[in-house]
Amino acid sequence: MSEAGLRLEHLTKQFDDHVAVRDLTLDVPQGSVLALLGPSGSGKTTTLRLIAGFETPDKGRVLVDGEDVTALGPADRHFGMVFQHYALFPHLNVGENVAFGLGRSLSADERRQRVAESLLLVDLRGFEDRRVDELSGGQQQRVAVARAVAPRPRVLLFDEPLSNLDPALRERTRRELRAALDKVHVTTVFVTHEQEEAFALGDVVAVLRNGALEQVSAPTELYERPASHFVATFVGRATTLKGVMVASDRVRVATGIEWPVTSPVALQEGQPVSVTVRPEMFLPSEDGGLTGTVREVRYTGARAFFEVDTQLGNVEFEADVHTADVGDTVWLTARTGTAFPRRGK
């Protein structure tokens, strides 16, 4: 464990009889960006609020650079936060909003300088005197970022930073945000329910489910080596089939159909498993393998997703658009899948 950065230790938070966060332990190294990803109700926003100090954990600690801040209120943590709806103060102009968190130890000149620097960082130079309600949604978001970074926080927190923007703006804002984060080099945690956003912004992604940590990894690892069946299906698309291990790295999904698999845990021969296969990991073949009828084709351009009815259930694969048409019979093999232990036969 590195001392620098943010560390969550066994965080637990319960509301009435509902456990929002259970025994969560996480490390965010100094200067890196962690995405908290999960479906709604998974506890990601509560986790963020526990880090910020808006909620007090029932158990566990929050440490920054080795210092325990759990007992400190939000005002004393020196964290920056960008709220989902930005929470810009409507009665203050852009400059006053950005200057709000600057300590009184700074001189007027230093404050002005710091505001200008922060606005420059988000590409809003010269916006100091604008009213916040005159700004577009994207500009408001950037003012919120400038306001959060201006006091040079130890940790930066984002609550669904892009959810409030329309899709066209989201892509661009995401790139600008990532560039700004690279420049300030502050330990950052953000919450999102969108995998694409988590992968684009996060150096590391933590997947939460029912308040507990499922996996924390770099995006590629999360996609290619999911630690649980939940992660495999929540992050990216995947078909799930039942099978039985025939070797430590081979699974049989039906008589005569065996595929290579990896697994996060050691599996024994004969063990029943769930196998998840990514759409691009299926290979259409002329004969042999799993057979079925194409029920639906969804074009995405040069490639397409094919929904196939097979004897084992519905299977989704991705291939060149000309691979098959609705009604065609196809044969599929899998290049690789991921196997997870399954209870029962």
């Binding site: 808006f54 029932d58 936060m81 709220f83 709806h85 929470a87 103060f89 306001r147 006091p151």
Partner: protein
Amino acid sequence: MRRKPLGLLLTVLLVWLVAYPIGLVLIESVGGPGEWTLDHLKAFATDSFEWSALWGSVWISFASVVLAGAIGIPVGYFFEAFTFPGRRVLGALIALPAVLPPLVGVIAFLFLFGESGFIARFITAIFGLQASPWRLQGAGAILLVHAYSMYVYFYLFVRAGLAKVDASMIEAAQVLGCNHWQTIRRVTLPLLRPQILAAALLTFMTSLGSFSAPYIFGGGFRVMTTQIVNSKLNGDLNAAMVQTVALAAVAFLALTAFGRGQGSRSVATTGKGVASATRNLGPPLARWSATGLGWMFAVLLLLPHITLVVVSFVPFGTWTTQLVPPEYSLGNYAQLVQEPERLRPLVNSLWMAAVATVGALALALWAGRNIVQRKVVLRGAIDRLLNVPWAVPGTVLAIAIATAFSVSAPWVGRWVLVGTIVILPLAYLVRNIPIAAGSVIAGFRQLDPALEEAAASLGARRLRTLWRISIPLLKPALLAAGALAFATAVGDFVTSIVLYTFNTRPISIEILSALRDFDVGVAAVYGVVLMVVSAGAMALGTRR
């Protein structure tokens, strides 16, 4: 490790200010510790005068509801449903009685309709009578004043309700074959039921607690509020306690009954809320008659106040038997400025109202923070306590405060404050709590909770967040509440008459003593000052 804030300190303070004094009256009405007795209650129950006063309070209140509704509902409908030239200005003018202190309306009525008022003099002159054909006294006079000042509740509520009624419902009724009157009877009025009931409750409670009109015009007609004050002024404290309890009980019963009747919440805003259609009155004749009617109504309603202004220029002793005052001068106003004893009540009223308003606003801010932002465990209790002073008549509150703070017993939270300069501002403050809290708490509910968190995340502590974020954003709510609270306190009569001392006498008491000395000019000047101060405060408070 979980700590849920209790809000105990605020609850204790509110109990001490609001519930405790009323509880003490209840206890003392049955003798109090050591000398428990039902004698006072028995004396009350067997006294036919007491019963007639109680009955007087109740039927006057019902009659006021009926009369005020009969004026306010059609006028509100008229102003909301039709457009005609001058609608906006007139619409605002006729809402004016709502913001003026009741005592001002009462003395304005006296100068206009009283037996030596303008109208009586005209009639006497025209018909060559020896004396005024009427005396402005008794139940009729009280009802006239009540209807005049309380129709505004119906007027405002009906207009607000109609503005929210979905126009498509009215259109649906018409498509289904209803004519204009059927639509009003079968659709519009039922949709307005919650608003009408709310206005009726407000009118009933205001009438039940009404003091100025019965005190000045009552004559031999008895109501509970004047009985209480008379008992208190005559030193019959036991009777005052029991009467107070009886009036409070009626108020409580009324609140409960109306609460039942109100049933489910407003139905006027179902669906997507298409803006209600205001109909243009097509034919020029109809439009101009509507305008004429509107102006007539406005002039009629403003006439008492115009009279008040006229009378304020009449020098002492100059207006005896003449039809109209023969002389006018600024003398009465000059007296107010030049004579310290005349200025004193004005200064008293202003500072005491200001202190009470600031105190009530501070309490409202504290309550808003606890109820809305911190969601303290005791928020339900706090919310109910904040509304208690609204639910009990002013006289009851005044007697309760007089009872609680006339004994020195610090260990049970009682100090002798009656007779000191503290008591009136404190009493005004308590009466102002519901006014201030209602507006400020509604303001808090509209604040985005994330703003406060944003301030905290930027290192701002509680006080700085309150000062830099919450208060600036609550400014409209604070101003509106402050204006209403200030206007109420500056014109207060009912609490003042129970609790004033010579040194703290406010304007209302001075008006009363000027009337007793037949110094109508001075009474009118104070009335005009009250009118200007409250209208000015309201104009400032509702500025957007």
